[in-house]
């Protein structure tokens, strides 16, 4: 079996918090990403699902090298990302591109679409010939579904709709022909009618270009069309990981079950009982001793407060971190 494109092992990213200044050292840390391990295969889409604040965006930024991990390793196409610096890091980043949540903020308002899409080529000194560069920009725009590209090249972001802007962001990512696309809530700011288009576009890119995708979302409903596997994240940890169908039909972790129960089902006859979680997510600087989910868990037992359950393999490729899963 071929080695995965991305292999993340025991990754931990901590942030110092509280009154820290040049004069005082930080006392406490936010465990944004805490001991996370997973793989992404070539041409595979992994959905990373969790509530906001669970650490999914930090995980993406850590993969990109925009945040330094505290410990752990990231193997990307055989290279240890955490060890890279300067030009090596820059070269490696060429192969992983990110799409952000809000297309109204992720595009520089003063640049034309053509300039935005061409910028990565210029930065990475690819396609130095003008004609070559223009051809690649056009191709990227077409691949992102902005056809014909001539219409869009001279436009400014404010002249485009939200969906079109997100396509520009995708085009700017595609122009480098990356192997991994990190999509951080790429549709949550868009109109519902446009969401499907963008998700289908990502699915299509995965199919035709064999691009691996890490699809970050808080909404399980949006992942089915694109994701091969789902990782559910809670408070910096992956609590359940498995094939999309398995996780959706046979969720093993109470948190996954709760998430699924509030997701609108495509088929109204499959109406389920909603599980409403009690309480707030614990303060990430002061985590409970046992299972992190225990304070909110509807089925928690005394054992859960005492010991933190490890990720346990249940069936092929399906793991969950629950004493009673």
């Amino acid at each position: 079996m071929a080695s995965p494109l991305v292999a993340v092992r025991n990754l931990r990213t901590l942030f110092p918090v509280g009154a820290h200044s040049v004069f005082r050292a930080p006392a406490t840390f936010v465990h944004a990403v805490d001991d996370v391990t997973f793989d992404i295969d070539e041409g595979e889409a992994l959905a990373l699902v969790g509530e906001s604040g669970c650490g999914k965006s930090t995980l993406a930024l850590t993969l990109l090298g925009l945040e330094r991990p505290t410990t752990g390793s990231i193997d990307f196409a055989g290279q240890e990302m955490t060890a890279l610096k300067g030009s090596e890091l820059k070269a490696a980043r060429r192969n992983m591109q990110m799409i952000f949540q809000d297309p109204y903020e992720s595009l520089n308002p003063l640049m034309r679409v053509g300039e935005i899409v061409a910028e990565p080529l210029i930065v990475h000194k690819l396609a130095n010939a003008r004609s070559d560069r223009e051809a690649r920009v056009r191709a990227a725009l077409e691949a992102a579904g902005l056809k014909p590209p001539e219409v869009y090249l001279e436009r400014y972001p404010y002249q485009l709709s939200g969906g079109q802007r997100q396509r520009v962001a995708i085009a700017a990512a595609l122009v480098l022909e990356p192997r991994l696309l990190l999509a951080d809530e790429p549709v949550s700011m868009l109109d519902v009618s446009i969401r499907a288009e963008i998700i289908n576009l990502l699915a299509e890119l995965k199919q035709t270009r064999k691009i691996s995708i890490l699809f970050i979302t808080h909404d399980l409903g949006t992942v089915t069309a694109v994701a091969d596997r789902i990782a559910v994240m809670y408070l910096g940890r992956i609590v359940e990981l498995g094939r999309t169908a398995d996780v959706l039909t046979q969720p093993r972790h109470p948190y996954t079950k709760a998430l699924l129960s509030v997701t609108p089902a495509p088929n109204p006859r499959l109406r389920k009982e909603r599980i409403i979680l009690k309480g707030e997510t614990p303060d990430p600087t002061r985590l409970p001793g046992g299972c992190r989910f225990a304070p909110r868990c509807p089925v928690a037992q005394p054992l859960c407060l005492a010991s933190d359950p490890p990720l346990t393999a249940l069936e092929t490729g399906h793991t969950a971190a629950c004493h009673f899963g």
């Binding site: 200044s21 992720s106 962001a169």
Partner: protein
């Protein structure tokens, strides 16, 4: 679209200037007291001599139809030729570039203002240029090194510079510069010099300019730095900056391609407004350093109740503020494509 907006803006600016012209005229007529007596403050003047002065300055004519004067209101014939009233003579003179004659110096106001404005522009132009360059540079460095000792030092320097009273800073620098650097204390040139070459003259003016320019630069540096810093901090937290980082741009490239231009947008407004107002705002510095500029001229004219001078100077100031705003507006259209739609 762009042209219509341009025409619209220019038309509004012209309308505002017309309004200011009218307001400026009546403002000085509403002030209490007889302008003729205010100008020549000698109680021994005979009634004939006072009347002769009124005739000389055109004050014998009615202010406008139906009003001989406004404060106190005195009625007059409503059926005089409007063109023979003070108001229309004033408007007509303006169109010929005449601002009247100074009560104090007996020279045409336009001539005095032109010379003084040039001196002020020289001082302020250089100082503003330096303040903008240094302020922006310091602001960028501080924002880039956010939270470091470099940032804190720049921040404290700017806050102090901004809050220093101009007059006090000027006096301190004047004492320091004249004692330690041997720089001249007042004026624009050394009186009675015969310059060997144009360069000698430039150097002499430069030596006189040094301290006022330094004062002015420090005073404005702080403001520019603080605004640039906070503007850049805002921009640096934008997603497109993060996107650029993710695309592999290094710090310098991000600053150059994305952050600076966006962060400069609020600066353009501040700079334009400052440029409009600073013509008047240089009063204190011009007073401290005896610089023969417009601010000093206004200050003197207030003391001397030189109404024609004040009227001309106010008009000039109002027009420069309006023009500066117009320029800021138009520059904004050029810098920020989003503005065109509004």
């Amino acid at each position: 679209m762009r042209n219509r907006r341009l025409i619209n803006k220019v038309a509004w600016a012209l309308f505002t200037i017309c309004f200011v012209i009218v307001l400026n005229f009546f403002l000085f007529r509403i002030l209490p007291g007889d302008p003729a007596r205010a100008g020549i403050r000698d109680p021994r003047l005979t009634a004939e001599a006072q009347q002769a002065i009124r005739v000389r300055f055109g004050l014998d004519k009615p202010v406008i139809n139906c009003f001989a004067s406004i404060n106190p209101p005195k009625p007059a014939d409503c059926f005089v030729n409007p063109l023979d009233t003070q108001f229309f003579i004033y408007v007509g003179n303006l169109f010929r570039g005449e601002f009247g004659i100074s009560y104090h110096s007996n020279q045409p106001v336009a001539q005095v203002l032109a010379e003084r404005t040039w001196n002020t522009l020289l001082l302020i132009g250089v100082a503003q240029f330096l303040a903008i360059i240094l302020g922006v540079a310091l602001g960028v460095i501080a924002a880039w090194k956010l939270g470091t000792p470099v940032d804190y030092s720049a921040l404290i320097f700017s806050l102090v510079a901004w809050s220093l009273p101009t007059f006090w800073l000027g006096i301190i620098l004047l004492f320091w510069g004249s004692t330690n650097l041997g720089l001249p204390i007042g004026g624009m040139v050394t009186p009675g010099m015969n310059y060997a070459s144009i360069w000698a003259q430039v150097i002499d003016v430069g030596r006189h300019m040094f301290l006022p320019t330094l004062t002015y630069t420090i005073v404005f540096l702080g403001e520019y730095m603080l605004i640039m810093r906070s503007s850049l901090i805002d921009v640096l937290s934008e997603d497109y900056v993060l996107t650029a980082k993710a695309k592999g741009l290094n710090s310098y490239q991000i600053l150059k391609a994305h952050a600076l231009r966006n962060a400069m947008l609020p600066m353009v407004t501040i700079i334009a407004l400052n440029l409009g107002f600073t013509v008047a705002g240089a009063v204190q510095i011009e007073t401290v350093f005896s610089w023969p500029g417009l601010g000093g001229a206004i200050y003197e004219a207030v003391g001397q109740r030189d109404y024609p001078m004040l009227q001309g100077a106010f008009l000039l100031l109002a027009v420069s503020v309006i023009v500066a705003n117009l320029v800021a507006d138009l520059l904004y259209t050029y810098l920020d494509p989003r503005v065109q739609l509004e």
